[in-house]
Symmetry: C3
Subunit: 155 residues, 3 copies
Protein backbone atom coordinates (compact mmCIF):
# COMPACT_ATOMS: atom_id res chain seq x y z
CA UNK A 1 0.00 0.00 0.00
CA UNK A 2 2.95 2.31 0.50
CA UNK A 3 3.22 2.79 -3.25
CA UNK A 4 -0.23 4.31 -3.53
CA UNK A 5 0.38 7.88 -4.48
CA UNK A 6 -0.58 10.82 -2.34
CA UNK A 7 -3.42 11.74 -4.66
CA UNK A 8 -5.26 8.52 -3.92
CA UNK A 9 -5.27 9.41 -0.21
CA UNK A 10 -7.24 12.58 -1.02
CA UNK A 11 -10.90 11.70 -0.47
CA UNK A 12 -12.24 14.04 -3.16
CA UNK A 13 -9.78 12.53 -5.66
CA UNK A 14 -10.77 9.02 -4.61
CA UNK A 15 -14.41 9.92 -5.19
CA UNK A 16 -13.48 11.29 -8.63
CA UNK A 17 -11.62 8.06 -9.35
CA UNK A 18 -14.60 5.91 -8.34
CA UNK A 19 -17.17 7.82 -10.39
CA UNK A 20 -14.90 8.18 -13.42
CA UNK A 21 -14.41 4.42 -13.48
CA UNK A 22 -18.18 3.92 -13.17
CA UNK A 23 -19.19 6.27 -15.99
CA UNK A 24 -16.42 4.99 -18.28
CA UNK A 25 -17.47 1.38 -17.68
CA UNK A 26 -21.06 2.44 -18.44
CA UNK A 27 -19.79 4.05 -21.67
CA UNK A 28 -17.88 0.87 -22.58
CA UNK A 29 -21.11 -1.09 -22.08
CA UNK A 30 -22.45 0.76 -25.14
CA UNK A 31 -19.91 -1.12 -27.30
CA UNK A 32 -21.29 -4.44 -26.06
CA UNK A 33 -24.89 -3.32 -26.67
CA UNK A 34 -23.92 -2.21 -30.20
CA UNK A 35 -22.42 -5.64 -30.90
CA UNK A 36 -25.54 -7.33 -29.50
CA UNK A 37 -27.86 -5.30 -31.76
CA UNK A 38 -25.60 -5.76 -34.82
CA UNK A 39 -25.73 -9.53 -34.28
CA UNK A 40 -29.46 -9.86 -33.56
CA UNK A 41 -30.58 -7.28 -36.16
CA UNK A 42 -28.00 -8.53 -38.69
CA UNK A 43 -26.86 -4.99 -39.53
CA UNK A 44 -23.16 -4.58 -40.22
CA UNK A 45 -20.92 -1.86 -41.63
CA UNK A 46 -17.99 -3.93 -42.90
CA UNK A 47 -18.10 -6.62 -45.61
CA UNK A 48 -15.51 -8.69 -43.72
CA UNK A 49 -17.85 -8.92 -40.70
CA UNK A 50 -20.44 -10.75 -42.77
CA UNK A 51 -18.45 -13.51 -44.43
CA UNK A 52 -18.27 -15.33 -41.10
CA UNK A 53 -22.06 -15.68 -41.36
CA UNK A 54 -21.76 -18.06 -44.30
CA UNK A 55 -22.56 -17.72 -48.01
CA UNK A 56 -21.17 -14.30 -48.84
CA UNK A 57 -23.51 -13.68 -51.79
CA UNK A 58 -26.69 -14.22 -49.79
CA UNK A 59 -25.39 -12.31 -46.79
CA UNK A 60 -24.61 -9.07 -48.65
CA UNK A 61 -28.00 -7.77 -47.60
CA UNK A 62 -26.70 -7.63 -44.01
CA UNK A 63 -24.58 -4.59 -45.00
CA UNK A 64 -27.40 -2.39 -43.79
CA UNK A 65 -28.30 0.13 -41.16
CA UNK A 66 -30.85 -0.71 -38.49
CA UNK A 67 -32.85 1.78 -36.37
CA UNK A 68 -31.89 0.07 -33.09
CA UNK A 69 -28.19 -0.08 -33.99
CA UNK A 70 -28.23 3.60 -34.99
CA UNK A 71 -29.99 4.48 -31.73
CA UNK A 72 -27.29 2.78 -29.63
CA UNK A 73 -24.60 4.50 -31.68
CA UNK A 74 -26.16 7.93 -31.11
CA UNK A 75 -26.37 7.15 -27.40
CA UNK A 76 -22.69 6.10 -27.41
CA UNK A 77 -21.62 9.28 -29.20
CA UNK A 78 -23.67 11.39 -26.77
CA UNK A 79 -21.82 9.63 -23.93
CA UNK A 80 -18.48 10.58 -25.48
CA UNK A 81 -19.59 14.18 -25.98
CA UNK A 82 -20.57 14.48 -22.32
CA UNK A 83 -18.28 12.09 -20.41
CA UNK A 84 -15.06 13.45 -21.95
CA UNK A 85 -15.73 16.96 -20.53
CA UNK A 86 -16.73 15.40 -17.20
CA UNK A 87 -13.45 13.46 -16.94
CA UNK A 88 -11.25 16.38 -18.01
CA UNK A 89 -12.96 19.08 -15.95
CA UNK A 90 -13.69 16.66 -13.08
CA UNK A 91 -9.98 15.84 -12.71
CA UNK A 92 -9.11 19.52 -12.36
CA UNK A 93 -12.11 20.03 -10.07
CA UNK A 94 -11.00 17.19 -7.79
CA UNK A 95 -7.49 18.71 -7.66
CA UNK A 96 -8.85 22.17 -6.82
CA UNK A 97 -9.63 21.11 -3.25
CA UNK A 98 -13.44 21.15 -3.21
CA UNK A 99 -15.47 20.30 -0.12
CA UNK A 100 -15.81 16.54 -0.07
CA UNK A 101 -19.60 16.66 0.27
CA UNK A 102 -19.94 19.15 -2.60
CA UNK A 103 -17.68 17.04 -4.80
CA UNK A 104 -19.62 13.88 -4.01
CA UNK A 105 -22.86 15.68 -4.83
CA UNK A 106 -21.49 16.65 -8.27
CA UNK A 107 -20.15 13.19 -9.07
CA UNK A 108 -23.22 11.31 -7.83
CA UNK A 109 -25.67 13.50 -9.72
CA UNK A 110 -23.63 13.23 -12.93
CA UNK A 111 -23.36 9.43 -12.72
CA UNK A 112 -27.07 8.96 -12.00
CA UNK A 113 -28.02 11.42 -14.75
CA UNK A 114 -25.89 9.62 -17.36
CA UNK A 115 -27.16 6.17 -16.36
CA UNK A 116 -30.74 7.43 -16.54
CA UNK A 117 -29.94 9.11 -19.89
CA UNK A 118 -28.88 5.74 -21.32
CA UNK A 119 -32.04 4.03 -20.06
CA UNK A 120 -34.18 6.89 -21.43
CA UNK A 121 -32.39 6.71 -24.81
CA UNK A 122 -32.55 2.95 -25.29
CA UNK A 123 -36.01 2.15 -23.90
CA UNK A 124 -36.92 4.82 -25.26
CA UNK A 125 -38.80 6.77 -22.61
CA UNK A 126 -40.99 9.66 -23.77
CA UNK A 127 -39.34 13.05 -23.84
CA UNK A 128 -38.37 15.20 -21.96
CA UNK A 129 -36.87 12.43 -19.76
CA UNK A 130 -33.82 12.00 -21.99
CA UNK A 131 -33.45 15.74 -22.54
CA UNK A 132 -33.64 16.53 -18.83
CA UNK A 133 -31.13 13.84 -17.84
CA UNK A 134 -28.75 15.19 -20.49
CA UNK A 135 -29.26 18.72 -19.13
CA UNK A 136 -28.54 17.68 -15.54
CA UNK A 137 -25.20 16.13 -16.53
CA UNK A 138 -24.38 19.18 -18.63
CA UNK A 139 -25.10 21.62 -15.79
CA UNK A 140 -23.05 19.57 -13.30
CA UNK A 141 -20.04 19.78 -15.64
CA UNK A 142 -20.51 23.54 -16.10
CA UNK A 143 -20.67 23.93 -12.32
CA UNK A 144 -17.36 22.07 -11.90
CA UNK A 145 -15.78 24.18 -14.67
CA UNK A 146 -16.80 27.38 -12.84
CA UNK A 147 -15.10 26.11 -9.68
CA UNK A 148 -11.94 25.21 -11.65
CA UNK A 149 -11.78 28.62 -13.33
CA UNK A 150 -12.40 30.52 -10.06
CA UNK A 151 -9.82 28.50 -8.09
CA UNK A 152 -7.03 29.84 -10.23
CA UNK A 153 -6.77 31.32 -13.68
CA UNK A 154 -3.54 31.46 -15.59
CA UNK A 155 -4.20 32.95 -19.00
CA UNK B 1 -7.28 26.92 0.65
CA UNK B 2 -4.98 24.48 2.41
CA UNK B 3 -6.76 21.62 0.70
CA UNK B 4 -5.72 22.74 -2.76
CA UNK B 5 -3.33 20.10 -3.93
CA UNK B 6 0.29 20.72 -4.70
CA UNK B 7 -0.33 20.37 -8.43
CA UNK B 8 -2.55 23.42 -8.52
CA UNK B 9 0.33 25.50 -7.13
CA UNK B 10 2.41 24.60 -10.18
CA UNK B 11 1.97 27.46 -12.63
CA UNK B 12 2.30 25.32 -15.77
CA UNK B 13 -0.34 22.96 -14.39
CA UNK B 14 -2.60 25.88 -13.52
CA UNK B 15 -2.27 27.14 -17.10
CA UNK B 16 -3.11 23.63 -18.37
CA UNK B 17 -6.14 23.62 -16.07
CA UNK B 18 -7.34 27.00 -17.35
CA UNK B 19 -7.02 26.19 -21.04
CA UNK B 20 -8.43 22.68 -20.69
CA UNK B 21 -11.53 24.14 -19.05
CA UNK B 22 -11.81 26.71 -21.84
CA UNK B 23 -11.53 24.28 -24.76
CA UNK B 24 -13.87 21.77 -23.09
CA UNK B 25 -16.48 24.47 -22.47
CA UNK B 26 -16.11 25.48 -26.12
CA UNK B 27 -16.65 21.85 -27.10
CA UNK B 28 -19.73 21.63 -24.88
CA UNK B 29 -21.09 24.72 -26.64
CA UNK B 30 -21.37 22.55 -29.77
CA UNK B 31 -24.11 20.54 -28.04
CA UNK B 32 -26.13 23.72 -27.50
CA UNK B 33 -25.60 24.83 -31.11
CA UNK B 34 -26.72 21.38 -32.30
CA UNK B 35 -29.90 21.67 -30.25
CA UNK B 36 -30.51 25.19 -31.60
CA UNK B 37 -30.19 24.03 -35.23
CA UNK B 38 -32.30 20.90 -34.63
CA UNK B 39 -35.06 23.11 -33.21
CA UNK B 40 -34.95 25.87 -35.83
CA UNK B 41 -34.37 23.54 -38.82
CA UNK B 42 -36.82 20.95 -37.44
CA UNK B 43 -34.42 18.07 -38.09
CA UNK B 44 -34.44 15.30 -35.49
CA UNK B 45 -33.02 11.80 -35.22
CA UNK B 46 -35.39 10.25 -32.68
CA UNK B 47 -39.15 9.75 -33.12
CA UNK B 48 -39.74 10.52 -29.42
CA UNK B 49 -38.20 13.98 -29.89
CA UNK B 50 -40.91 14.94 -32.36
CA UNK B 51 -44.11 14.00 -30.54
CA UNK B 52 -43.66 17.01 -28.27
CA UNK B 53 -44.14 19.13 -31.40
CA UNK B 54 -47.77 18.07 -31.68
CA UNK B 55 -49.65 15.89 -34.19
CA UNK B 56 -47.32 12.94 -34.55
CA UNK B 57 -48.53 11.98 -38.06
CA UNK B 58 -47.83 15.39 -39.58
CA UNK B 59 -44.55 15.78 -37.74
CA UNK B 60 -42.97 12.55 -39.05
CA UNK B 61 -41.35 14.58 -41.80
CA UNK B 62 -39.14 16.19 -39.12
CA UNK B 63 -37.21 12.89 -38.84
CA UNK B 64 -34.77 14.28 -41.37
CA UNK B 65 -31.20 15.39 -41.74
CA UNK B 66 -30.37 19.04 -42.31
CA UNK B 67 -27.14 20.42 -43.82
CA UNK B 68 -26.64 22.88 -40.95
CA UNK B 69 -27.22 20.26 -38.26
CA UNK B 70 -24.80 17.88 -40.00
CA UNK B 71 -22.23 20.67 -40.24
CA UNK B 72 -22.37 21.34 -36.48
CA UNK B 73 -22.13 17.60 -35.80
CA UNK B 74 -19.02 17.27 -37.99
CA UNK B 75 -17.51 20.25 -36.17
CA UNK B 76 -18.32 18.66 -32.80
CA UNK B 77 -16.75 15.35 -33.83
CA UNK B 78 -13.66 17.16 -35.10
CA UNK B 79 -13.42 18.84 -31.69
CA UNK B 80 -13.51 15.45 -29.96
CA UNK B 81 -10.87 14.05 -32.32
CA UNK B 82 -8.51 16.94 -31.54
CA UNK B 83 -9.34 18.05 -27.99
CA UNK B 84 -9.09 14.53 -26.51
CA UNK B 85 -5.41 14.22 -27.58
CA UNK B 86 -4.77 17.78 -26.35
CA UNK B 87 -6.15 16.99 -22.88
CA UNK B 88 -4.37 13.64 -22.56
CA UNK B 89 -1.00 14.74 -23.91
CA UNK B 90 -1.31 18.23 -22.38
CA UNK B 91 -1.73 16.76 -18.89
CA UNK B 92 1.49 14.77 -19.25
CA UNK B 93 3.19 17.77 -20.85
CA UNK B 94 2.21 20.02 -17.92
CA UNK B 95 3.56 17.39 -15.50
CA UNK B 96 6.85 17.10 -17.39
CA UNK B 97 8.05 20.46 -16.02
CA UNK B 98 8.04 22.63 -19.17
CA UNK B 99 9.13 26.28 -19.15
CA UNK B 100 6.07 28.27 -18.13
CA UNK B 101 6.34 30.60 -21.12
CA UNK B 102 6.69 27.68 -23.57
CA UNK B 103 3.74 25.90 -22.00
CA UNK B 104 1.59 29.03 -22.16
CA UNK B 105 2.54 29.47 -25.81
CA UNK B 106 1.37 25.91 -26.59
CA UNK B 107 -1.91 26.25 -24.67
CA UNK B 108 -2.76 29.72 -26.01
CA UNK B 109 -2.10 28.81 -29.64
CA UNK B 110 -4.14 25.61 -29.32
CA UNK B 111 -7.11 27.38 -27.73
CA UNK B 112 -7.13 30.20 -30.29
CA UNK B 113 -6.73 27.72 -33.17
CA UNK B 114 -9.68 25.60 -32.02
CA UNK B 115 -11.94 28.62 -31.43
CA UNK B 116 -11.05 29.94 -34.88
CA UNK B 117 -11.61 26.44 -36.33
CA UNK B 118 -15.18 26.45 -34.98
CA UNK B 119 -15.87 29.90 -36.43
CA UNK B 120 -14.36 28.86 -39.77
CA UNK B 121 -16.44 25.65 -39.80
CA UNK B 122 -19.78 27.17 -38.87
CA UNK B 123 -19.68 30.45 -40.83
CA UNK B 124 -18.28 28.80 -43.09
CA UNK B 125 -15.18 30.74 -44.07
CA UNK B 126 -13.52 29.85 -47.37
CA UNK B 127 -10.77 27.27 -47.21
CA UNK B 128 -7.94 26.98 -46.25
CA UNK B 129 -8.91 28.91 -43.08
CA UNK B 130 -10.51 25.86 -41.46
CA UNK B 131 -7.77 23.52 -42.67
CA UNK B 132 -5.00 25.76 -41.38
CA UNK B 133 -6.58 26.27 -37.95
CA UNK B 134 -6.98 22.48 -37.67
CA UNK B 135 -3.32 22.03 -38.65
CA UNK B 136 -2.10 24.54 -36.06
CA UNK B 137 -3.89 22.71 -33.25
CA UNK B 138 -2.60 19.38 -34.57
CA UNK B 139 1.02 20.56 -34.68
CA UNK B 140 0.82 22.03 -31.15
CA UNK B 141 -0.34 18.65 -29.83
CA UNK B 142 2.46 16.83 -31.69
CA UNK B 143 4.96 19.30 -30.22
CA UNK B 144 3.73 18.57 -26.69
CA UNK B 145 3.86 14.82 -27.36
CA UNK B 146 7.51 15.13 -28.44
CA UNK B 147 8.32 16.89 -25.17
CA UNK B 148 6.50 14.18 -23.16
CA UNK B 149 8.31 11.36 -24.95
CA UNK B 150 11.75 13.02 -24.62
CA UNK B 151 11.26 13.83 -20.90
CA UNK B 152 11.16 10.18 -20.05
CA UNK B 153 10.37 7.00 -21.91
CA UNK B 154 9.40 3.79 -20.19
CA UNK B 155 8.65 1.16 -22.79
CA UNK C 1 15.02 18.79 -14.28
CA UNK C 2 14.13 19.94 -10.77
CA UNK C 3 10.80 21.21 -12.04
CA UNK C 4 9.68 17.78 -13.15
CA UNK C 5 6.88 16.90 -10.80
CA UNK C 6 6.99 14.00 -8.42
CA UNK C 7 4.54 12.00 -10.50
CA UNK C 8 6.96 11.79 -13.40
CA UNK C 9 9.49 10.10 -11.11
CA UNK C 10 7.02 7.28 -10.49
CA UNK C 11 7.93 4.53 -12.95
CA UNK C 12 4.38 3.24 -13.40
CA UNK C 13 3.22 6.79 -14.14
CA UNK C 14 6.08 7.29 -16.58
CA UNK C 15 5.04 4.09 -18.37
CA UNK C 16 1.44 5.36 -18.48
CA UNK C 17 2.72 8.64 -19.91
CA UNK C 18 4.73 6.88 -22.62
CA UNK C 19 1.94 4.58 -23.77
CA UNK C 20 -0.74 7.27 -23.59
CA UNK C 21 1.36 9.47 -25.88
CA UNK C 22 1.85 6.52 -28.26
CA UNK C 23 -1.82 5.54 -28.54
CA UNK C 24 -2.94 9.18 -28.85
CA UNK C 25 -0.40 9.81 -31.62
CA UNK C 26 -1.68 6.66 -33.34
CA UNK C 27 -5.21 8.01 -33.00
CA UNK C 28 -4.15 11.37 -34.46
CA UNK C 29 -2.66 9.50 -37.41
CA UNK C 30 -6.24 8.56 -38.35
CA UNK C 31 -6.92 12.24 -39.12
CA UNK C 32 -4.04 12.26 -41.61
CA UNK C 33 -5.22 9.00 -43.21
CA UNK C 34 -8.73 10.45 -43.51
CA UNK C 35 -7.34 13.53 -45.28
CA UNK C 36 -5.27 11.30 -47.59
CA UNK C 37 -8.30 9.22 -48.60
CA UNK C 38 -10.53 12.29 -49.00
CA UNK C 39 -7.95 13.78 -51.39
CA UNK C 40 -7.21 10.66 -53.42
CA UNK C 41 -10.84 9.40 -53.52
CA UNK C 42 -12.16 12.95 -54.03
CA UNK C 43 -14.86 12.49 -51.37
CA UNK C 44 -15.63 15.55 -49.28
CA UNK C 45 -18.31 16.57 -46.80
CA UNK C 46 -18.12 20.37 -47.07
CA UNK C 47 -18.82 22.46 -50.21
CA UNK C 48 -16.06 24.91 -49.25
CA UNK C 49 -13.48 22.09 -49.36
CA UNK C 50 -14.16 21.52 -53.04
CA UNK C 51 -13.94 25.01 -54.52
CA UNK C 52 -10.17 24.89 -54.11
CA UNK C 53 -10.23 22.04 -56.66
CA UNK C 54 -11.31 24.40 -59.43
CA UNK C 55 -14.55 24.79 -61.38
CA UNK C 56 -17.15 24.63 -58.65
CA UNK C 57 -19.96 23.41 -60.96
CA UNK C 58 -18.07 20.39 -62.23
CA UNK C 59 -16.65 19.55 -58.80
CA UNK C 60 -20.01 19.30 -57.01
CA UNK C 61 -19.93 15.57 -57.60
CA UNK C 62 -17.04 15.36 -55.11
CA UNK C 63 -19.55 16.01 -52.29
CA UNK C 64 -19.85 12.27 -51.90
CA UNK C 65 -19.12 9.45 -49.50
CA UNK C 66 -16.47 6.87 -50.32
CA UNK C 67 -16.19 3.36 -48.80
CA UNK C 68 -12.49 3.87 -47.92
CA UNK C 69 -13.11 7.24 -46.28
CA UNK C 70 -16.02 5.81 -44.28
CA UNK C 71 -13.85 2.88 -43.21
CA UNK C 72 -11.13 5.18 -41.85
CA UNK C 73 -13.76 7.26 -40.06
CA UNK C 74 -15.27 4.18 -38.41
CA UNK C 75 -11.77 3.12 -37.35
CA UNK C 76 -11.14 6.62 -35.93
CA UNK C 77 -14.41 6.59 -33.98
CA UNK C 78 -13.64 3.12 -32.63
CA UNK C 79 -10.29 4.50 -31.45
CA UNK C 80 -12.06 7.30 -29.59
CA UNK C 81 -14.54 4.87 -28.03
CA UNK C 82 -11.71 2.70 -26.71
CA UNK C 83 -8.76 5.05 -26.13
CA UNK C 84 -10.77 7.56 -24.05
CA UNK C 85 -11.60 4.89 -21.42
CA UNK C 86 -7.98 3.67 -21.53
CA UNK C 87 -6.63 7.17 -20.81
CA UNK C 88 -9.15 7.96 -18.08
CA UNK C 89 -9.00 4.60 -16.28
CA UNK C 90 -5.27 4.16 -17.02
CA UNK C 91 -4.45 7.45 -15.26
CA UNK C 92 -6.25 6.32 -12.11
CA UNK C 93 -4.71 2.85 -12.45
CA UNK C 94 -1.20 4.33 -12.68
CA UNK C 95 -1.92 6.44 -9.57
CA UNK C 96 -3.21 3.42 -7.64
CA UNK C 97 0.33 2.08 -7.16
CA UNK C 98 0.28 -1.06 -9.32
CA UNK C 99 3.29 -3.39 -9.66
CA UNK C 100 5.46 -1.89 -12.37
CA UNK C 101 5.62 -5.15 -14.32
CA UNK C 102 1.84 -5.64 -14.16
CA UNK C 103 1.27 -2.06 -15.27
CA UNK C 104 3.70 -2.41 -18.18
CA UNK C 105 1.96 -5.63 -19.20
CA UNK C 106 -1.41 -3.82 -19.34
CA UNK C 107 -0.08 -0.81 -21.26
CA UNK C 108 1.97 -2.86 -23.74
CA UNK C 109 -0.85 -5.27 -24.55
CA UNK C 110 -3.30 -2.38 -25.01
CA UNK C 111 -0.97 -0.44 -27.32
CA UNK C 112 -0.16 -3.50 -29.46
CA UNK C 113 -3.83 -4.49 -29.61
CA UNK C 114 -4.92 -1.03 -30.80
CA UNK C 115 -2.16 -0.78 -33.40
CA UNK C 116 -3.07 -4.23 -34.69
CA UNK C 117 -6.76 -3.24 -34.63
CA UNK C 118 -6.01 -0.32 -36.96
CA UNK C 119 -4.04 -2.53 -39.35
CA UNK C 120 -6.82 -5.14 -39.29
CA UNK C 121 -9.46 -2.47 -39.92
CA UNK C 122 -7.72 -0.67 -42.76
CA UNK C 123 -6.17 -3.58 -44.67
CA UNK C 124 -8.82 -5.12 -44.02
CA UNK C 125 -7.77 -8.46 -42.57
CA UNK C 126 -10.39 -11.22 -42.43
CA UNK C 127 -12.37 -11.45 -39.21
CA UNK C 128 -12.01 -12.30 -36.35
CA UNK C 129 -8.64 -10.51 -36.34
CA UNK C 130 -10.19 -7.07 -35.88
CA UNK C 131 -12.77 -8.33 -33.40
CA UNK C 132 -10.16 -10.09 -31.28
CA UNK C 133 -7.78 -7.12 -31.19
CA UNK C 134 -10.72 -4.92 -30.12
CA UNK C 135 -11.62 -7.46 -27.41
CA UNK C 136 -8.05 -7.59 -26.06
CA UNK C 137 -7.93 -3.81 -25.63
CA UNK C 138 -11.40 -3.86 -24.05
CA UNK C 139 -10.46 -6.55 -21.52
CA UNK C 140 -7.22 -4.75 -20.57
CA UNK C 141 -9.24 -1.60 -19.78
CA UNK C 142 -11.76 -3.61 -17.71
CA UNK C 143 -8.87 -5.21 -15.81
CA UNK C 144 -7.43 -1.77 -14.96
CA UNK C 145 -10.88 -0.53 -13.90
CA UNK C 146 -11.22 -3.49 -11.49
CA UNK C 147 -7.87 -2.56 -9.93
CA UNK C 148 -8.95 1.09 -9.60
CA UNK C 149 -12.26 0.18 -7.97
CA UNK C 150 -10.66 -2.33 -5.55
CA UNK C 151 -7.87 0.07 -4.53
CA UNK C 152 -10.36 2.43 -2.98
CA UNK C 153 -14.03 3.12 -3.42
CA UNK C 154 -15.67 6.35 -2.34
CA UNK C 155 -19.31 6.26 -3.28
Amino acid sequence: MSKITQLMKNEAFLAYSTYTAIVLLKMMLMSLITIYFRMTRKAFSNPEDITALGNSEASKKYLQTDPDVERVRRCHLNDIENIVPFIGIGLLYALSGPDLSTALLHFRIFAVARIFHTIAYLTPLPQPSRGLSWLVGFVVTISMACRVLTTGLYL
